[in-house]
Structure formats: C-alpha cells, structure tokens
C-alpha cells in the first residue's frame, strides 16, 4: 500500500495538517480525517456537486480532487462560512426560503453560490441557473433555491 503523506493546507482560515493515502479524495480527507462532514458524498463521480468546496477560491467537486493535491492550498468548506455561531445571510436565505428538503445538496449549493456572489454580486436569474448547473437537487426543485440566491444577492431575507 502506498505510504501516507503529510499534507498542510489552510482550511477555513486555519492551517491544518493531515495524513492521507495518495488514493484518498479531498472529500474523504475532509470528512474522515478532519471531521468536516459538511461536504456530502453524493454521486462520487463529479456529477452532483454535493461535495463542492472552494479550492483557492474556485468551486471544485472534492470527490474529484486527490487530498495530496491540496498541499499548500486554501480550502473553504461550508463549516467556514458562518461566523461566531451566526449563520451567513446566504444560509439564512436558504433556511427562510425553504430552499432545501433533504438537505444533502445544500452545502454544495451554498459553496457554489458563495463563489458566484463573490464574483457577481447581483447575478441575473439566467446567470444563477447557469452557474449552479453543476449542483443537482433531487427533491426541492430549483425555483426556491434560485429565489434564495436572489434574496441573498439583494441583501434581503425572504
């Protein structure tokens, strides 16, 4: 078996070290090694977006990143977006707009939306739908999610 490697990365603003085998995905390292279980394993082949995290500011599916590739990287997970026990406005908009049902896809949607609003503070509905196309939801449908993103962009809570 390939030797474990020691990886150092900044995760949610904090420098962390973890050991992983080369074959382990970043998703596995986050969930099993670092107990950051916010990112969810959905399809495990890059289709559903439930495991989305930000890697150096870019949304990526952490099931298709090897943990060893994260050496020196900056990673942001859904655990990092609420501050001081208070939900981020974006999370509050999802909550109040009932933009979720079973909730498995929600952390991925939140991370992609965060990246979107960081780049385009007031996206059009088309931009929202296009940029969130890599996140699949099998129970709610997308309208409530889109409305929650719009509410967050407008700085309102639905």
């Amino acid at each position: 078996m390939a030797k474990k490697q020691l990886i150092t990365a900044t995760i949610n603003g904090e420098q962390r070290e973890f050991a992983c085998e080369p074959r382990q995905s970043l998703l596995e390292a986050l969930r099993d090694g670092l107990q950051l279980t916010g990112a969810k394993e959905g399809c495990n082949n890059g289709n559903c977006g439930a495991c989305t995290v930000l890697l150096d500011g870019e949304p990526v599916v952490s099931c298709l990143v090897l943990a060893v590739e994260a050496e020196g990287a900056e990673i942001e997970t859904v655990e990092g977006i609420a501050a001081g026990g208070k939900l981020q406005p974006l999370q509050q908009c999802f909550l109040e707009g009932a933009a979720l049902q079973c909730g498995v896809c929600t952390p991925g949607f939140l991370m992609t939306t965060k990246a979107l609003l960081d780049r385009i503070p007031h996206p059009s509905e088309e931009e929202i739908r296009f940029q969130l196309a890599g996140n699949l939801c099998r129970c709610t449908g997308y309208d409530k999610i889109v409305r929650a993103v719009q509410a967050a962009a407008e700085g309102e809570q639905t």
Binding site: N45, E58, V60, A133, G134, N135
Partner: protein, 291 residues
C-alpha cells in the same frame, strides 16, 4: 479507489522520466475530472499517478512570438474563459470551455486532458481542429509536434506512446476578418454530453467573400471529422443564410454516427446540418466584426 503512488514533478523532463518507468503503470493527472473517475471505477489501472499541474510550462497561457496562443496542457477551462484576449481571438474555444461540465468541473478540467481523453463527443476538440492548432509532445528523446486533428486515433485513443506527455496546444495567429464558433446539441440546458457538435471557422477577404472555411463535427464518428465538401462549397462565395444552409446539408454527409439512447443516426445527421449552419452564421458575424 485502487491503491497507487503519487508524484508531482516540477519539470517536463522529470514527468517524462516517471511516465517512462517500465516498473510502473503510470497515468497523467491534470484536472483529474476524467482520470479519477476511470481509476475509481477501475476502468483504468495505475500504480503511479503523475500530477503535471506543478510544471510551469504546462501552466503557461500566453501569446506566442508569432501572435498565436500557447495553451499549456494543464491550464483549466475557467482560466481560459477569464482571459479577455482569448475570448476575442479564439472565440470558438471559449464557446466550448464555457460549457464543459459545470463550474466545478471547469475549475479543474483542462483542454489538454479533454484532448488526451479523446472522447468522440469532446467539446474542445472541434474548436482546436478548426484553428489548425498543433499539439506539442515531450518524449524521452526530445519534442515533436503534430496537428491536433491527427492526435485522436479512435474512441478514447490517442497517438501518445508510453512515456510521452502532451505539453501544450499551440494556436496559429488569428488573422483579421476571421471568426469562428462552436455549438453542441444536448437534451438538457446545461451539463450534458453532446448528441452532436460542430465548430466552424471563416476567413473573409477585403471584398467580404469567403477565403477559407473549416467545419469540424464531433460526436458523429469515432473521432472529430472535417466536412470538406461543405468547406469547398463556401470558398469564393459571399456569406449568406442560403449558402450556409447548403453547406449544412453537405456537412451532414461527413458524419457517420451511431444509434444510441442519445440519438438515432438520422437525428445526429440532421443536427450536423443545423449546427454547421448556425456556427457558420456566427462565425461570419464574428469575422465581419474582426477588422
């Protein structure tokens, strides 16, 4: 996931040395959006994964001395479409990289990987072919170059021999009065595999007549195919919808698609005609605007 070792060389020579090691079954990792799925599903076997993203040359995205474009094989799709100069000069490439997977995939996936993966439905291959792009390949004995159009040899097969590494894709300069476009047809609005796709390139003369035309179709044969008869029908003519409709009809004759759950032979042939016509129309508009 199967067990493997991991190496992240920082030079092309080191990568080639690792890929040539006869004691290892090695694979290249660029964006990983295809290879990690194949490894996980055991459709590919490897004892060594060689991550090429730390090699400076493979990360280069710059204009060449001749005025063309040097696209390192490990440059991600999202980096490509964020560069305004590329969007202006190589718009068909940008049309394609904007719709490869969703945003998460575009953050990682590379055009180099898309080419090496050699899927018949690959989005970036028809745009590379219409621009007459060249693949630069590092081998243990030096470098070689070949037209991208000859790089794929069959379904998921390419010309790379053991120990060879795709370094970059080099685009010739973008002349004035030239324009190109890429489109695909998918049943969803986003994030799907092309039922058929097409890229077209047009170069106009000062009088506005078509001087050069290239049309390449994807997902309708084991590799991307050039629609030569359609191209010939355009040369010397003034661009217009009627001409493009005739070219579309001729283009579909170059297709030899399969029947599958995505579409029948007839459906795919029809799509070739429609997509050729539409991409020619956009290419002509872009060419006229590129003064």
């Amino acid at each position: 996931m199967q067990d493997f070792d991991y190496a992240a060389p920082i030079s092309t020579n080191d990568a080639v040395r690792l890929l040539s090691d006869p004691s290892q079954k090695s694979v290249v990792l660029a964006g990983g959006t295809d290879i990690l799925v194949l490894l996980r599903e055991r459709r590919r076997r490897a004892t060594l994964v060689v991550d090429v993203k730390k090699i400076a040359e493979l990360n280069e995205l710059a204009m060449t001395a001749e005025g063309g474009l040097f696209l390192g094989a490990a440059v991600s799709c999202s980096r490509i479409y964020r560069e305004a100069a590329i969007a202006q000069n190589y718009s068909a490439l940008v049309d394609a990289v904007k719709i490869i997977g969703g945003w998460q995939i575009q953050s990682r996936a590379t055009v180099g990987g898309n080419l090496c993966n050699a899927s018949p439905a690959a989005d970036s291959i028809p745009p590379l072919a219409i621009y007459d792009a060249v693949a630069e390949i590092a081998t243990h004995s030096g470098r070689r170059q070949m037209p991208v159009a000859e790089f794929c040899t069959g379904v998921c097969k390419n010309v790379l021999a053991r120990g060879e590494l795709l370094v970059a894709i080099i685009f010739p300069p973008h002349p004035k009065l030239s324009g190109a476009a890429y489109q695909r047809f998918i049943p969803r609005n986003e994030m799907d595999i092309a039922v058929a796709n097409a890229a077209s390139y047009l170069e106009l003369d000062k009088a506005g007549k078509i001087q050069k035309a290239r049309i390449v179709l994807g997902a309708v044969a084991p590799t991307a195919v050039r629609a030569s008869a359609a191209e010939e029908s355009l040369v010397g003519q003034e661009p217009n919808e009627e001409l493009f409709a005739i070219a579309g009809e001729l283009a579909q004759q170059a297709a030899s698609p399969i029947d599958d759950m995505r579409g029948t032979v007839e459906y795919r042939q029809h799509l070739c005609s429609v997509l050729s016509r539409r991409t020619l129309t956009i290419a002509a508009e872009r060419a006229a605007a590129n003064k």
